[in-house]
């Protein structure tokens, strides 16, 4: 073998710990090797990673070489990075419906309709990209006004808010 283990271990560290892809020039300069030597070392390490049953891979991107996870394992990473994908609860849907039909609307106004506190429901809806703050209401405390997002329309397959089914007029009289 041409190289001792050590330069390969260093190269492994470099690919692991850098945020951006590494060019062969950078690799050669840190390892104090010629470009050819650096390349040979890199290819050796790439074979060890990519041709094995390991979970990680080293790939060449436009800007250089980078260590990452093999794409087939992405679902497991999603599972641990984004554990929340539960469907919305009924209270959350009710709150969303109120906002959709009454926007712009403040929290207090929503609570007046629902009769219960909605603070945590609003956070959930914001987190799920369904509603957002769209301004402030004039008056004491200048409360936040909420409205629906463009993602909300996309999820429901609507072109615009006007596409929301109309309501029975009389019932919408509650204020």
């Amino acid at each position: 073998m041409l190289f001792a283990e050590k330069p390969k271990a260093i190269l492994e560290c470099l690919l692991f710990a850098t945020a951006m892809p590494l060019s062969i020039d950078e690799i050669a300069s840190v390892l104090e090797l010629s470009l050819e030597e650096a390349e040979e070392l890199l290819f050796q390490l790439m074979r060890e990673y990519n041709d094995s049953d390991r979970g990680l891979q080293i790939t060449l991107l436009a800007e250089g070489y980078q260590m990452g996870t093999k794409p087939q394992y992405a679902p497991y990473l999603e599972k641990i990075c984004r554990p929340r994908s539960n469907p919305l609860s009924k209270p959350a849907l009710e709150t969303l419906a109120i906002i959709a039909y009454r926007q712009p609307i403040t929290r207090t106004e929503i609570e007046a309709i629902r009769g219960v506190r909605v603070e945590h429901l609003l956070s959930t809806l914001i987190e799920r990209d369904l509603i957002k703050e769209i301004g402030r209401k004039e008056g004491p405390g200048r409360p936040i006004l909420y409205g629906t997002t463009s993602e909300f329309l996309i999820y429901l397959g609507l072109k615009s808010l006007e596409d929301l089914p109309p309501l029975d007029k009389q019932q919408d009289g509650i204020r």
């Binding site: 994908s85 919305l88 009769g115 405390g141 019932q171």
Partner: protein, 244 residues
């Protein structure tokens, strides 16, 4: 000055005191308080002469030392009480010095660990980048616009059935919710608000009375303070926490 040491190099008064004790190999359990007090104050004078600001904490300790020194000079009562001896005025200081000394002693070891761990690099994984590449699951999957409308209609129907429309106002105002509302309004207003500003647009007798009761309760709990500039003038309400 016997020691050429700058005050700023000490973490605090305990650090300086421990330095004086260790340097002279004094017994921490039997500190010659007169000698230590003089040396400690010498440092403060020296600092003062150099026009350096002396942190208040150093001055407080100076006063404490002087007070201990004074207590030590008081004549001891001729007969000791039977059970225990007179409390040593230095005792509290010694306890605190010993406690501080423990932490001072452990710092070096923690620093070594800190430096060791700095040698270990982690993968600079950026969750945001990773997730932006993944389409988030549709939180509304299985739900259409019509379903949302139905949910809304149903909710309105329930509300209209249960109570006549005008009754909704009484549902809206309870002393507890008004207290919360007042808190929200006031806490963001350092200059306070007038009482009428606390009332919502829906002025009716229930809301005014409930808001007033809520205000009285908040006054009782010392959460708010109220001022009236002249008799029958507007009442200004201030959130007590905002005063600090």
């Amino acid at each position: 000055m016997d020691y050429q040491i700058r005050l700023e190099s000490f973490e605090g008064p305990f650090d300086l005191l421990l330095h004086l004790i260790e340097k002279q190999e004094l017994d921490i359990y039997d500190i010659p308080i007169g000698q230590i007090t003089d040396q400690y104050l010498d440092y403060l004078w020296a600092m003062d002469q150099l026009d350096l600001t002396i942190a208040g904490d150093f001055l407080v300790m100076g006063a404490t030392l002087l007070s201990i020194k004074a207590k030590m000079l008081l004549p001891k009562p001729p007969i000791q009480t039977m059970e225990d001896e007179m409390e040593d005025p230095r005792e509290e200081l010694v306890i605190r010095l010993l406690e501080y000394q423990k932490f001072k002693a452990i710092i070096e070891e923690l620093q070594i660990r800190e430096m060791q761990q700095r040698e270990v690099y982690e993968h600079p994984f950026n969750v945001e980048n990773f997730l932006s590449g993944i389409k988030p699951p549709n939180p509304l999957r299985g739900i259409g616009a019509a379903d949302l409308t139905a949910i809304y209609q149903e909710m309105l129907e329930v509300l209209t059935k249960v109570e006549p429309i005008h009754e909704l106002y009484t549902e809206e105002y309870t002393v507890a919710t008004q207290m919360e509302l007042i808190g929200k309004l006031l806490s963001s207003k350092v200059e306070g608000l007038f009482f009428f500003e606390l009332l919502s647009e829906n002025l009716n007798i229930t809301s005014i009375i409930t808001t007033f009761l809520a205000l009285l309760e908040l006054i009782r709990l010392s959460k708010v303070e109220v001022y009236q500039e002249k008799p029958f003038g507007s009442i200004r309400v201030l959130w007590a926490d905002n005063k600090l």
